[in-house]
Symmetry: C2
Subunit: 329 residues, 2 copies
């Protein structure tokens, strides 16, 4: 397949705070740098699966300023000037606007840096379809993921009405899945001009970032300090009238928590998953990740135990969403 | 108090496999070397609390051969020749016999190297009383500990009949405590000649070790290889007719498991005990011992989490007796 569109540019959003996979990931090496899922880091995989859709010099990475060096080192094939650091976190609204400004013109697609795709060829087909639509109409096209569970962790899209819906509770999630709604995986494809028009109309404070002229002359620090913290979904997608949806069914996984280890690694007879040196006695259903030290489990169930040598995390599987509270302290 | 009896000799038994406090203790540094309880190691405390009862040159340590160097380094004030290593583990029967052989004559007392005593002065008073009895009659005198719970971890002594009773089940333990029975803490005091006579009568295979003459000429390796594995309680105390008991109430604790940390260290508001760097979120009733790495707990209850940098143990408090299964694997 040689779909490389001369006018397509891809922006990979690579923020991340390193909390959900702490201590494997850290603020200095957030989730996209994890290389336990597959043979390379998640961000390398994210860039690699765009191959055939876009030329390397048309791939842009929006990350945080303190991750620019690590990202350039991880992706030496991307022109260093295409890897840009935001001076502070301002959510995806600002990141998408900056990406549009960097890409300049043509069709621009936004992708995450820390997700898995089991069937990259099917992924590329869906994106190619979205590019086609975006090229022929002033629409923002999103790839809607076919849900494999009534997850409450994602927003949904109604493919009939193209309506964006916030993360629901369990009851609504079930209804949405039964109604054929799709997951919003944060993939957006549109002409740069369409994005710019959408920002100008619905999020004018973000619009200057989306303009290459402004961007070139600008002091990003000053611009960012004045920006609102707002997601692209909330700032634009929930309001923009010309949305289209391409359904995607390509084994997408946002690798949202340590439970991903249960999905991608083999279990022993007691349902324990071990990466690295682990011994278990009278223990079942645990995930052990041992880097730099050995882990021994005695009489414990459904725990996530992770060591990096310097740090040891012991969390109940049902409490993984509370890992972030460690950092609030 | 200057009770130093010119004829009293103390033998401290310092074996240990390092399993119950693994990975804090190891086969190379078993429990008696732990220095977290009090300001020095348990073996230093065990020797220190004999001060006033016995001169340094009359203190003997029976340990395993591979611990001799570490023990001499830990107790530089004890003459190195008084610290003897058994070539192999043959239970307390052999260790007591060897101690009698080393001590030679006079009144000999046996003590453990890995127990705590909260009131050393009361301990010394009890031992002095036992020495007095042993000096005046051919009896083996034991210090019986006043129980603070119906423990199933210790043997009991009926102070009326002087009968030794094996570790009971919970039902019997309750009965014994209600009947005023005392714990057998493995402290025995008798004239060397009384010990020798008891071995000759009830455990003749151990008797050669108890004789200084045999010991001096002997090849310990050959003797030990032929010895039975048998405890001193079972080999001698349960059969010897001339037993006496001195009750002891001096805050004795055998520091039998990680639960000792709950007893000796302060708790946070959620009942967690931490030694070293620990953060806890939504977690209660845990014991965390962090050496060489930090521990973070999220949503977990009643666990013991110990790290030494190289090893991480995560055990349920109710399963601590299964730690030894890690080594059987």
């Amino acid at each position: 397949m040689a779909r490389n569109s001369t006018d397509f540019k891809a922006v990979v959003l690579a923020g991340g705070s390193g909390e959900r996979f702490w201590p494997l990931s850290t603020p200095q090496r957030p989730k996209q740098f994890l290389s336990v899922f597959g043979s390379s880091s998640l961000i390398r995989q994210s860039v690699a699966r765009l191959e055939g859709l876009v030329k390397k010099e048309d791939v842009f990475i929006v990350t945080s300023r303190d991750l620019v060096d690590a990202t350039r080192a991880e992706l030496p094939e991307i022109p260093p000037g295409n890897i840009i650091g935001e001076p502070m976190r301002r959510d995806t609204g600002a990141a998408v606007a900056l990406g549009v400004g960097l890409a300049g013109d043509g069709v621009v697609g936004f992708f995450s840096s820390d997700q898995l795709v089991a069937k990259p060829e099917a992924f590329r087909e869906a994106v190619a379809k979205a590019i086609e639509i975006a090229r022929s109409a002033p629409k923002i096209v999103t790839i809607g993921i076919k849900p494999d569970s009534p997850s409450t962790l994602f927003g949904y899209i109604d493919p009939a009405t193209k309506k964006f819906i916030e993360k629901p509770n369990a009851e609504y999630a079930k209804k949405y899945v039964e109604s054929g709604y799709l997951w919003n995986a944060g993939m957006f494809i549109a002409e740069a001009g369409t994005f710019r028009a959408a920002f100008a109309e619905h999020a004018p404070r973000l619009a200057p970032l989306a303009s290459p002229e402004t961007l070139r002359e600008a002091d990003l620090d000053a611009i960012y300090a004045a920006l609102p913290r707002i997601s692209f979904d909330f700032a634009v997608m929930e309001k923009f009238p010309a949305v289209d949806v391409v359904p995607g069914d390509f084994g997408w996984d946002d690798v949202g928590s340590y439970l991903a280890f249960d999905k991608y690694f083999p279990h022993d007879g007691d349902g324990n998953v071990a990466l690295g040196a682990m011994k278990a006695v009278d223990s079942a259903g645990n995930i052990a990740v041992a880097k730099g030290a050995r882990i021994s489990l005695v009489g414990v169930k459904n725990l996530v135990v992770v060591t990096t040598g310097d740090d040891v995390l012991v969390a109940d599987k049902a409490s993984l969403s509370s890992i972030k509270k460690l950092f609030a302290k």
